[in-house]
Symmetry: C2
Subunit: 301 residues, 2 copies
Amino acid sequence: MKLSVLGCYSATPRAFTNPTAQVLEMKGHLFLIDCGEGTQIQLRKQKLKFARIKHIFISHLHGDHFFGLPGLISTFQLLGREAELHIYGPKGIKEAMLLLLKLGSAYTAFPLYFHELTSVKSEIVFEDEKLSVSTIPLKHRIYTNGFLFKEKLGERTLNIDAVKKYGIDTCYFQNIKNGKDAPTSKGEIIANSLLTLEPPRPKSYAFCSDTAFNEAIADAIKGIQVLYHEATFLEKHKSLAAKTGHSTALQAANIAKLAGAETLILGHYSTRYDNLELFREEAKQVFDNVELADDGKSFNF
Amino acid sequence: MKLSVLGCYSATPRAFTNPTAQVLEMKGHLFLIDCGEGTQIQLRKQKLKFARIKHIFISHLHGDHFFGLPGLISTFQLLGREAELHIYGPKGIKEAMLLLLKLGSAYTAFPLYFHELTSVKSEIVFEDEKLSVSTIPLKHRIYTNGFLFKEKLGERTLNIDAVKKYGIDTCYFQNIKNGKDAPTSKGEIIANSLLTLEPPRPKSYAFCSDTAFNEAIADAIKGIQVLYHEATFLEKHKSLAAKTGHSTALQAANIAKLAGAETLILGHYSTRYDNLELFREEAKQVFDNVELADDGKSFNF
């Protein structure tokens, strides 16, 4: 699982800071999460392959989270894309994108699907054999969802040491992988659990931006491995956070603690702060494993 | 008159090239012409004052010429703008911008006026005491206008040497500036033309992008001082230029020659070419004074 942060600053893009966008690599997928203005440039700078992006998740329809989307869709078209593109976002996103394309007579030759979201309860929006993506209802000034990416529990794998020890013939290996027991050369049946290893622990990532402090998030992501939670402000601007539907670094850390997260990544900083380390220090008061997002930074988990 | 090129490459923004946007300073105005994705970042990099932009001219509704507009309008709002903003562009631009703002519940507190263009003939779209801006109908795949910015002929100015020579009393200076003749101390009447200087030659700038080769442009801008004409391709890709409604460097130079322009600035290059000097060389075959636009470059005239 790899997270590439394309942009992690709030509000308006500036000369050296970008609005929200990130790419999550999970089980062969390249998921794009939010798409602020300039996202396609950030994708190029980080040498992420446009063609591998097949699913785009938009949290909400404030400009700093989706104004890069029309340009990205147009660029997909210019690049001769043929693969399907799925866009998940609040109701209205389809009308807006299709209107912008129509104005330029720039229809897409590739299949473009919009999955418009309206539910205020968590729902699965994408699922395949290996993972699922579900919404995390957030509290912001307008309808907003976070997204929870969860690998599914894999299959048990062949325990090479065990099959050797029991002298199991290789012809039974596929059966064992499929969950069956297997006989030794002497006809003794060995239980599958003795011949296989536990599947690796499924990885999980929760993206929560933009949101006011909301304990319900912690319930929705209990036991999460990696939590990206917005921290637009520091505690000294707590009232401003409440007023604008944003969180402080301390509040983000409290959600991580309540959820039992392994790692907390902070982002969506207001550009009023020069020193991002203050965010880490504040969060560390209640949660130890804090990382700071930054444009161009990537994390491997 | 100063032209600041924010972006001058065609199609999709890349890591180090920007789509079309430029700022023209003329008679105290800061006119923004086109607004591709990332324009607000380029404005910041070039330290151009957002608040001084009161008129935005959009040539056509292909993404690389206006996908930076919703973000810029939102940023004006975030910056607490109070001044009027006027946007001139093809019909449809108002619906699109207002829809994007509405989706984010991001209404503007400043007066925002759209002047939607539909005419296929040249028309004056903005005028004040000192200058006028009119459209230049262009031939492209969709409805497109160039823009002609023309200073008006100023008033004749007092010729200090002449009034001294004739011994004209200072109390007549305002009258002379207002076009009147004036008496010497001996009562002899001196003609105004002998006491004043010609006004400076009005400056003019024509923005022509995107467009196929079209001689009618030259007629519309006869005697232009500075012509920015797109040159998406070189002559070796002439058929591609014709097919896509674009021009070659040689064609741009022919328009400059036909119009009797003083200076030709080339831009809107396809990113397929590594060496921009080839554009200059090609244009110089028929027109001598050729400049190459580049992102971040500015020109004083």
